[in-house]
C-alpha cells in the first residue's frame, strides 16, 4: 500500500468533492477544519492512516452537530435542508389525549437528547448517534387527530382540509395520517437509526402507515442559488423566501395571536410521481417551454439568470407570451407573500413499478395559510398547467407543525392537555 491515504470527509462522501460548497449550503458550524474520518480512510486503503501533511486534517472524526432542538420554532423548516429526509405517517392506536401526550413526550425527549449529541434513553445502539450531521426532527399533527381527540375547537382555521383536485391520482398508502415525523440529516446511518429509535419508542402507541425517504443534493445547483435540482434536472425553489427575512416569517409561520399553536406552520406534503419516460421524449426547448424556465441556468425564458424577475408580460416576435399561458411557473406564480409557500422539496426513488421508474418529488410546502397559498395555486395547476401530463400526484397529507419548546416543555403539550 504505497499510495497515500485518502482523507475522506464525512460530507464529502455525500457530495463528492463539494465539501466547501456543502458547508456553505448546509449552514453548519464546522470550524476551520474539515472533519476527517480516519476510520473511513483506513477502510478505503486497507492501511493505517498516515500522519497527514496538511493542518486541516484531524486524526479523529469530529461529529457534525444536530440543529438545536429547543427554540421558538421546530427545526427542519427554517434550517438548512439536509441531504436526506424521511417523512413518516403514523396513526394513534387509541384516540386518547394521554396517549397523544405520551407520544409527544417520547419524541420531545428523544429529539432533545439527539440534538444535544447524546443517545436517546434506552437506545441499544448509542454508537449510531455520534454524528448527528445536521439532524432535525420535526413533528406534525393531522387535523383528523384533533377531531378524534374531541379537540376540534382547537383546530386553527389555517389547518384547512386540502380539497381534491382533478389531477389527483392517489395510491395507497400515501394519504393523511394522525401524526407526521420528519427526520433529516446528512448522515444516512443517523437517519436510519433515529427512525428505528422513534418508531420503536412509539410502537405501543402508534402504527406507522407510511415512510417516505427523500434525498436531495446539498451543493447548490449554481453558485449563489438557494434552490435544488429535482430528478427532471429542473431547479426547484427559486422563488423561496429566505430564512431570517420578514417575508419568510410572513410566508411560513402562523399569524400572531394563536391560543394553542404559537410559532407553528402548516405542512402540505404531496407525493408526485414523475413520468420520465414520456418527459424525456420531449426535446429540451419543449421541456423548457412547459416549465417556463431553462433547465441549465434556471433562468425564466427571456431573461439571463435564475434570480432575474420572470418576464410574464414579455411577448415574442409572433406576439405570443415568452412565458406561455399554461407554463408551470406562470400557473404556480404567487403574486403576494400571502400566496407564497416555502418549498423544501426532496426527491424520492422507490425503484421499479410496472416496468417504469417509480420516482419523483416529495413536495413539502410550509405555509402560514394553505387556503390562500397552496390550495388556490394547486387549483390553478390542476386546471391549466401544461406540466400535468408528465407528473402524477399519488399522495397528499397536511399537518399542523406546532411551535418549538424550551427545556422542560413537551411539544404540543398545552393543546393535548
Amino acid at each position: 500500500m504505497s499510495e497515500p491515504t485518502h482523507a475522506v470527509t464525512r460530507r464529502g462522501v455525500l457530495a463528492a468533492g463539494g465539501a466547501a460548497l456543502l458547508g456553505a449550503a448546509s449552514g453548519l458550524a464546522v470550524g476551520a477544519s474539515i472533519p476527517v474520518d480516519s476510520h473511513a480512510a483506513t477502510a478505503s486503503t486497507g492501511a493505517p492512516p498516515e500522519p497527514s501533511s496538511t493542518t486541516t486534517v484531524q486524526d479523529s472524526a469530529s461529529p457534525i452537530p444536530a440543529e438545536p432542538f429547543y427554540g421558538q420554532y421546530q427545526s427542519g423548516i427554517a434550517t438548512a435542508p439536509t441531504a436526506l429526509c424521511t417523512f413518516v405517517g403514523l396513526d394513534l392506536q387509541r384516540a386518547s389525549r394521554s396517549d397523544a401526550l405520551a407520544v409527544m413526550r417520547l419524541i420531545t425527549d428523544d429529539a432533545a437528547r439527539l440534538a444535544a449529541g447524546s443517545a436517546p434513553l434506552a437506545d441499544t445502539e448509542p454508537e449510531l448517534t455520534t454524528n448527528p450531521a445536521g439532524l432535525a426532527i420535526t413533528v406534525g399533527i393531522g387535523r383528523q387527530l384533533l377531531d378524534r381527540l374531541d379537540l376540534g375547537d382547537r383546530i386553527p382555521p389555517e389547518l384547512a382540509p386540502i380539497p381534491g383536485f382533478a389531477t389527483d391520482r392517489f395510491e395507497r398508502p400515501w394519504g393523511q395520517t394522525d401524526l407526521m415525523l420528519q427526520v433529516g440529516s446528512n448522515d444516512a446511518i443517523t437517519v436510519a437509526h433515529v427512525l428505528r429509535m422513534l418508531t420503536k419508542d412509539l410502537s405501543t402507541l402508534t402504527s406507522v402507515r407510511w415512510m417516505q425517504p427523500g434525498f436531495r443534493s446539498v451543493s447548490p445547483p449554481l453558485p449563489g442559488s438557494h434552490a435544488t435540482r429535482n430528478l427532471m434536472g429542473q431547479i426547484d425553489g427559486t422563488v423561496n423566501p429566505q430564512p431570517g427575512t420578514e417575508q419568510f416569517d410572513q410566508v411560513v409561520w402562523l399569524p400572531d395571536g394563536q391560543q394553542w399553536w404559537s410559532n407553528g406552520t402548516v405542512l402540505v406534503l404531496r407525493r408526485i410521481r414523475m413520468l420520465l419516460d414520456t418527459w424525456e421524449e420531449l426535446d429540451r426547448p419543449t421541456q423548457e417551454t412547459v416549465i417556463g424556465r431553462r433547465i441549465d441556468t434556471g433562468a425564466a425564458l427571456g431573461v439571463v439568470s435564475e434570480s432575474d424577475d420572470v418576464p410574464f408580460d414579455a411577448v415574442n416576435r409572433a406576439g405570443l407570451p415568452v412565458i406561455p399561458l399554461d407554463a408551470h411557473i406562470r400557473v404556480a406564480h404567487a403574486s403576494t407573500s400571502a400566496e407564497m409557500i416555502l418549498r423544501r422539496p426532496y426527491s424520492y426513488d422507490a425503484g421499479m413499478r410496472h416496468g417504469a421508474n417509480d420516482l419523483g418529488l416529495l413536495f413539502a410546502a410550509y405555509t402560514r395559510d394553505p387556503r390562500r397559498s397552496f390550495i388556490p395555486m394547486q387549483r390553478r395547476i390542476a386546471t391549466s398547467d401544461a406540466f400535468n401530463r408528465w407528473n402524477t400526484t399519488i399522495g397528499s397529507a397536511s399537518y399542523l407543525i406546532p411551535g418549538g419548546v424550551r427545556d422542560g416543555e413537551i411539544l404540543a403539550e398545552r393543546a393535548f392537555a
Binding site: 394521554s98 396517549d99 401526550l101 405520551a102 407520544v103 413526550r105 417520547l106 425527549d109 434513553l121 434506552a122 441499544t124 420503536k200 419508542d201 412509539l202 410502537s203 405501543t204 402507541l205
Partner: protein, 213 residues
C-alpha cells in the same frame, strides 16, 4: 405472588405527608401499626412509611429470612437521578428502572430500598457473573453512591426492579420512583417509561420467594 401483601401504607404522619403525596398515596389513611424491628417479613425490599418513619424489610445475608430493620425517621436526601427511565411492562409482570444516581454531598449515600405506586415490592439488583452465566440478584447492602460521585443503573448492570407490577408501566408516561437511603432519606423521581426488550439475563432468586419466574 399471593403471599406478598401490599405493604406500603400511610398513617397520615406529619413528616410523611409531603413525601407520600409525591408518590401518589397521600391523604388520610387508617392507623396502621409499625412493623416490629427484627421480626421476619415476607419479602426483602418491602418498605413502609408509618408515622413519619420508614421501615425496610432486608435480608443482609443470603439464605436468611428477611427481617424488618430498626426504622429511620423520614428525612430528605440530596441524591439526584439523571437520564432516568423504566421499562414498559404489563400489569403482573416485572420491570426495572435505570439512570444515573448522583451524590452531590461530601459523604457516601447508601440507597437501601425503593417504593413505587406501581409495584408491591421493589428490589435493588445487581448482575453478576456466576460460573460464566450473567445472573441478577438482590444487592443486599444496597447501592453506595460515593461522595461527589455517581452510580449507574443500566440494563445488564445494577438496576431497580419492579417485582410485581400492580398496574402497567405504559410507554411515554412517567412513573414515580422513591428511593430510600439507610439514613431515612426519601427522594422521588419521575423516570420516563420506554419500550425496551434487552437485558434479559436469568434471574437468581435469593428472596426466598417462590414462582418468581
Amino acid at each position: 405472588m399471593s403471599n406478598v401483601r401490599t405493604r406500603l401504607r400511610t398513617a397520615g404522619a406529619v413528616v410523611g405527608v409531603a413525601v407520600l403525596a409525591s408518590i401518589g398515596i397521600a391523604g388520610p389513611a387508617s392507623a396502621h401499626d409499625a412493623p416490629k424491628p427484627g421480626t421476619t417479613c415476607d419479602m426483602s425490599g418491602t418498605a413502609e412509611v408509618v408515622h413519619g418513619t420508614v421501615y425496610v424489610c432486608r435480608n443482609l445475608k443470603d439464605g436468611q429470612q428477611p427481617r424488618w430493620d430498626a426504622g429511620k425517621k423520614v428525612t430528605t436526601t440530596a441524591l439526584t437521578l439523571s437520564d432516568g427511565w423504566a421499562k414498559a411492562a404489563k400489569k403482573g409482570d416485572m420491570s426495572a428502572a435505570f439512570g444515573t444516581l448522583k451524590n452531590p454531598t461530601s459523604k457516601p449515600i447508601r440507597v437501601i430500598a425503593a417504593i413505587s405506586p406501581a409495584s408491591t415490592v421493589m428490589q435493588l439488583h445487581e448482575v453478576v457473573d456466576k460460573d460464566g452465566e450473567m445472573v441478577m440478584q438482590q444487592k443486599n447492602g444496597g447501592f453506595v453512591i460515593p461522595a461527589g460521585g455517581s452510580f449507574t443503573l443500566k440494563p445488564s448492570g445494577n438496576h431497580i426492579m419492579y417485582m410485581d407490577l400492580t398496574k402497567a408501566l405504559s410507554a411515554g408516561k412517567t412513573t414515580a420512583l422513591t428511593l430510600i437511603t439507610d439514613e431515612g432519606g426519601l427522594v422521588t423521581f419521575k423516570p420516563l417509561i420506554k419500550v425496551f426488550s434487552g437485558g434479559n439475563e436469568s434471574y437468581e432468586d435469593t428472596s426466598g420467594m417462590p414462582g418468581m419466574h
